[in-house]
Each structure stands twice: as structure tokens, then as C-alpha cells.
Symmetry: C2
Subunit: 435 residues, 2 copies
């Protein structure tokens, strides 16, 4: 085809002169809970040394073959040049988060304005990259989301490079149609509450932003907001999130004996409520087994707002949470269950029907919102992969995660056994890890 | 949402200064068969006076309420300013059509270069427009396609004006996904041959062009080309088409007695083969009943290339054609059936399976290719409508069409009866007219 409609020559020439097309263009292109945790860590453990490492659980996808090493380095180097912009700083200082002004202290924002992400270590081992980050916890932990987003989007780009312009147009039309149909299905549910949790494994930045616009247009008030701070700022929607496994994992790794180890998950929550209150008092209970954490919980945890279910069989985990609140005379109507593990529409509808009449329920919809191009290409080359970036050690001591699904456990095997005995974790059901 | 990505100010200001956004921007934005017929008429009946009139068979759609009269006039006036461009003239002179160079004579192209479409008459009657064209047949007949395209696209625009930018994006994504799925289904058929016949009732020009690109990308060699000359030129694909009902309708209206009336449909074909040969020798047999036309046909019609089925029950009409060829000792493998009446994927597959092992088969896919947004909006506001623009009289005498479906008959009722008796048309099956 030789026909070319009016070409904007200036734009074309500008595009020619790009050194790279950056995947991550802002330090707040990250999940909101990372900033909450970062401020928390700066207050409680500013000088703790940690190591984060990227792990591709979809080992059959040979990332180091698909992605050029130089291209990856350019992207990671670009992220190290990023600084908090004036407008971003103003947003963090002035915006209301979870109904609260000044969620971030002037000290934290001053620190953030001077932040430059620490160096990375990159090696190729077989078909995979070994990418890790070492340094002070509050700095290193900010690598997690951009590192995941860069790998995932570079993989998308590598696959998409094979397609012509028309095929690309059809691909995105089908992607949009699929998302829109999912949203229409969810909109049938009268009192659904959904947030975008899809930053880390998104198909691309632009696609995530489109998906958030689709949620906004399709769900109205049923759409709670996005975990992505940059998108929240740009689209003027709520930034959503609380805390993650890295807190109990590092606290436990730092424990000096079995008693402090057993108490470490509660110590995290105790510290957390010194820093944050209200709606941010959400228990992520599965790090070393939900049942065990709740059974042995101190009474001051009973009146926390909610529990986030991030592994295990969610239908069962939700019941365990409700049972625990009931036993402790809590008013269920005030309580919130947040589901966030590998959700897609069918699962969301099932959980909504099971729980929404008894407790408040919300859903953090991640990878299958922002990266569902399954079935569109031969060999399903765009199917999302299970990539994670975790704290693997603190002060040189390895971290351990058990979770409510043995396939999501991490850490040295002998330490996993030790943790299981300390926390009393017994039989667990295996749940396939999709993303 | 306040965020605006880089705006091209020059493009925006240029767009502001448009008087209108023309629906039809070229005199060759029309069906190829109109040009073949135009050249034919210029040779055979250059000074015949005819009247063409637009008829909205979907009377429940109040076009005159939806479309502003001034907007319609602006579009029609714009079409009258169009002239054949140098590049278009060159294409008509130099391009190969149906394997033939110089399909259009220098005389015809000289005439076309000087053509300016004749005036139109526009009135509003109730909820509908009365739009008609009077003048010499070769000039007036060229109004048919642009008039239909203008009304149809202005109706699309009126509906789409209610939608926001995001809703529009989703709408087109769903439209593209639907077309792509249809094409993928058709591509399962090993030896399918499909052409775009969707100019007259297209959703919009840009959408038709997209649909043709989709056929090209999805079907490769199974895609024959498009009836639209402008798109054929721009995308460098084949221009497709032969002739239409207006030829026998006008020839019959001009007949001076019952004998010449009965012979008029054959006279059309006799004249046609004086002007065109080979693959353009396609019989459009249904104007006054397919069975009757073929039964009484002179023997020189037996070796014509094909028959186009444009009304009636196509499964039966195809069998009638095959039967006729067989009776006249024709080699079926050389014969072509062209189906073009209200086709969509299911019907195409059915007809393909019924006929493709016995004769050559091709499909002229029209409205449900280029205007299928059914079900996407409330009240199905974008469902295609059955709009036609027909020769209603010649030299002051009314035309009649009977076709193989009584719902597609046109003309004064007493004349229809007279024609039925002349041509021996008896019982006919009613077929719902979708588009």
C-alpha cells in the first residue's frame, strides 16, 4: 500500500531522534503502596541493607533471548536518571489520599525529591536475566515496580515488533473489545468495587492508562482508583494500596531469635499503625499463613479495617477472615475484604456473590486487566508471564515467604521448614499460579 | 480528565477552518459498475432523460429529523464542485481492469473530465427527505452512490455526535473486532472469493477503507477487490463490478409496445456485449424474474461468463442458474455465480458449501461488511438502514422492477401487474429485506 495520509513531519522527525522510547518516565509510575511503605521504612528502618531480585516464574519464556541486553540496560539506566518532578512533588504534598491530607510528610517528600535509584546488577544466566538491587531498603524497594514494568513491556515490544501496522491495530481493537466486555460484565454487579492493581505486569504503560480510562468510563463510582500514582495523578482518580509482603519478610529476616521471629509479623502491624491509621489499617495476612496469623493475633488487631487476601483459595480465606472477626465480636458490616490474587471476571463475580452481602468487598484487579492479550497471537506469545521482584535478603540474612499456596513460597528450603514450624503452618492446598 | 498529550496545534487549527468535513471527496468515490454503465449509456442512450429518486425503505428511521437539512445541502453542493482529478483520470486511462487495458475509452474519459454533476431537488416530507435528480441518464446516474453515501454517513455522524471520545474509541474497537472475526471465519473456507460491495451503505468512507484493508490483510488472494474506485486506486487493489438493474429498467420504460418490452432485457445484454466482453459478460437476471429471463433467453446468452444473484432465495436461484447452464450444455466449471444480496458470514458459508464444488462462486459483500455496528448502541441507533436511489422514470415514463422478492418490487402497482403478465412472473417467495 503506497497511500500515506497527511504525515506530521515535525512529529516524525522528533520521534526519529529518540534515543530510546522509555518504558518508565516518572518515579511515581509505581504502585502507591510502595510510597506508603517507603515512608514507613524511612521512619523505622532507614539504614537496613536489603537485596531485591527479579525472578521469572514462567521459566519457559526465555526473556534473555527475547530482549536485547543493551535495550534492557538503556531502560534501567534511564530510570536511574529520573527525579521527582515539581508537579509530582506538589501532587504528593497537596493531594488527598484515602480521605487524608498530608499523607506524606515534608521530610519524606524532601528525601524523595533528592532520590536517585541505586545501581543495579544485571547478568544473563542461560535464557534468563539475573537482575538484582542491593542497598538501603527504602531506596532499593523502589526498584521493584519499574524493574517489573520494564521487563514486561520490553517483552511485549519484542513480540509486537513482528507485527505490521494493520495487525497491531486489530490486536489493540481486540484487546479493547475484550476489556470492554469484561467491564460490562462487572458492571452488572450492583455494588462492585474495583481498583486497578495492574502496574507491575502491564502490557505497556499506555495500555494500562487506557484500561484505567475504560474502568472509569464503564464503572463510574464502582471504580475505586488505580494503584499507579502517575496514572492517578494524570486521570485525577484515587491512588489505591496499603502494604505488601516485603515488610513481614524483612522484619522476620532481621529477627534475632525464635521469639522475635514469631512476633515479627505483628511488630510490622504495630509499627504500621503508629504511622498510618483508618483505612490504611489493612492486614496482609498470608505471608506465613492466614489462619495462623489471625488465630494468634493480639486483640488490638481486631478493630483494623480489613484484610487483604493474596494467596490460597480465596473463597476459603475470606471465610477464615469472617470467622475471626465474628469470634472477636466485630461488626462485619464495617469490615473490608480485599481480594488481589490472580483475579479475572469469573473469579470476581464468584467472590462478590459469596461475600458482598456480609462484609464490604473490594477487588484489586491486576494482570488480567492490564495484560490480557491471551489467544490473540500464534503460540500465545503475548500471554502474561509470572514475573516477581522480591526482597531476598536483609542484612545478609535470607528472607522467607510461605503464603497460603505452596507454589508461592520463597526462600531457602531449610529456612522455609523452620518458619513453618515457628508459625505452625501445616497442610496447604496447591493453587495454580497464573500470573 | 485534564491531561492532553502533545497536541498538534497546526492540525487542530486547520481542522477548525473546515467549512464541512466532506463525505464524498472524489468523483471516483463510487462503484466501478457505475462507470462501466455510464460509458455504456453514453454510447447507447446519451440523451435519454431520467429521474432518479432516493427512497428510505427503513421508514421508521426519521432521517429528516436526524440530519440537518443545511448539512445535507452542504454535502450535496460539495459533490457538485468535484471534478475528476488528474491522478484519477490517469488511473482510469492507465489501469488494468478485469485483465483489460483501456477499458475506458479516451472519449469517455474526456467527457468525465468535464463532468459536473447536475442539480438535485431536495424537499422534506414528514420525517423523510425527498431527494431526486433529473437530467441526462449518464449524468444523473452518477448521483446514485454519492447520494446514498452522504445520507448514510450523515446519519452515522448524527448518532455518533452523542458519544464521547472514549465511547467512540470503544465503538470502533468493537467494530474492528467484529469484522476481524468475520474475516477469520471466512478465511477458513479454502477457496472463497470475496469482494467489497459496501460503498453505498457504508458507515463512513474511512470505515469502508479500513474494512477493505482488513479484507486484504485477512484474506490475501481470496480477496478479489472492491467496488469502490477511489479505494481501489488508493490501496492498489482490483476494482470490481459489472452492471445493475437500472439498465433493463430504463430500457423497459422506453419500450413502445409489449413486444419490445418483452425483448428489452435481452436488448440490454445484446448492447452490453457489443461494448464489453469476457469477464464483464455477467447476467443480472432478477429484474423481472430470474426463471423467466433464463427460460426465454436467446442462445447467445448461454456462453456468458456468469450470473449475479441479487434477490430471491439465493440457494434456489443458484440452482435455477445451474439448471439452465446444464440444459444448454455449458461446462459448469467455467461458469460463475456472483451472490450480492444482503450477505453476511453465515449466508456466505452456506452458499459456498452449496455451490463452490460445482461452479465458480464469488461474493459481493456489502452493507454487513461496511456498516455492521448492530447491537453496539442503545436502541441500535447505528443499525444499517435500507436506503436505495433508483431510476424511477425515463422520458417521463415510470420504471418497474419486480425482482425475485415481492418486497423489492418498485413502480406503479398497475404497471407492476402489466410487467408480471408480460414476463410471466407468478408466485414469489417473500424474503425479509435486511439492508
Amino acid at each position: 500500500m503506497t497511500y500515506s495520509p497527511n504525515i506530521d513531519i515535525a512529529a516524525r522527525v522528533y520521534n526519529h531522534s529518540w534515543k530510546i522510547d522509555p518504558v518508565v518516565r516518572s518515579l511515581i509510575d509505581t504502585d502507591f503502596y510502595k510510597l506508603l511503605m517507603c515512608q514507613f521504612i524511612l521512619l523505622k528502618h532507614p539504614k537496613t541493607e536489603v537485596k531485591f531480585k527479579l525472578i521469572n516464574r514462567s521459566y519457559q519464556v526465555p526473556l534473555a533471548q527475547l530482549i536485547d541486553r543493551k535495550e534492557l540496560e538503556d531502560q534501567l539506566d534511564h530510570i536511574r536518571t529520573l527525579r521527582l518532578s515539581k508537579g509530582e512533588s506538589t501532587w504528593l504534598r497537596g493531594n488527598m489520599f484515602y480521605g487524608t491530607r498530608s499523607m506524606f510528610s515534608p521530610d519524606f517528600i524532601d528525601w524523595f525529591e533528592n532520590l536517585r535509584l541505586p545501581p543495579y546488577q544485571l547478568e544473563v544466566k542461560g535464557d534468563q536475566f539475573e537482575l538484582s538491587f542491593v542497598g538501603y531498603w527504602p531506596e532499593v524497594m523502589l526498584w521493584e515496580i519499574p524493574a517489573l514494568a520494564v521487563l514486561t513491556e520490553l517483552r511485549s515490544r519484542a513480540v509486537l515488533r513482528q507485527l505490521g501496522r494493520f495487525d497491531l491495530q486489530v490486536l489493540y481493537a481486540r484487546g479493547m473489545t475484550r476489556i470492554w466486555e469484561k467491564i460490562s460484565q462487572l458492571n452488572q454487579l450492583e455494588a462492585i468495587n474495583i481498583a486497578d492493581f495492574g502496574t507491575r505486569r502491564r502490557h505497556s504503560y499506555l495500555w494500562q492508562e487506557w484500561c484505567v480510562q475504560a474502568l472509569l468510563a464503564g464503572l463510574g463510582n464502582k471504580f475505586l482508583g488505580t494503584s499507579n500514582c502517575l496514572i492517578a495523578k494524570r486521570l485525577e482518580v484515587e491512588a489505591i494500596g496499603t502494604n505488601a509482603h516485603e515488610l513481614p519478610m524483612v522484619y522476620c529476616a532481621l529477627a534475632e531469635n525464635n521469639d522475635t521471629l514469631a512476633q515479627a509479623p505483628y511488630k510490622v502491624l504495630e509499627d504500621w499503625q503508629q504511622v498510618y491509621g483508618g483505612n490504611l489499617k489493612v492486614i496482609l495476612a498470608d505471608t506465613y499463613g492466614t489462619q495462623q496469623l489471625l488465630s494468634n493475633a493480639p486483640s488490638w488487631l481486631h478493630d483494623w479495617k480489613g484484610i487483604r487476601i493474596d494467596s490460597g483459595v480465596p473463597e476459603e480465606m475470606g471465610e477464615i477472615a469472617i470467622q475471626w472477626w465474628k469470634q472477636n465480636n466485630q461488626n462485619l458490616e464495617d469490615k473490608l475484604l480485599i481480594f488481589s490474587d490472580g483475579l479475572d471476571v469469573d473469579k470476581i463475580i464468584l467472590l462478590y456473590n459469596q461475600f458482598s452481602k456480609r462484609v464490604k468487598v473490594s477487588f484489586g484487579w491486576g494482570t488480567l486487566l492490564t495484560n490480557d492479550f491471551r489467544g490473540f497471537l500464534d503460540d500465545d506469545e503475548l500471554a502474561p508471564i509470572s514475573l516477581v521482584c522480591k526482597a531476598i535478603s536483609a542484612e545478609g540474612k535470607p528472607t522467607v515467604k510461605i503464603s497460603d499456596n505452596p507454589l508461592k513460597a520463597s526462600g531457602p528450603p531449610e529456612l522455609i521448614d523452620h518458619y513453618k514450624s515457628i508459625f505452625g503452618v501445616k497442610n496447604q492446598k496447591v493453587q495454580e499460579v497464573i500470573v
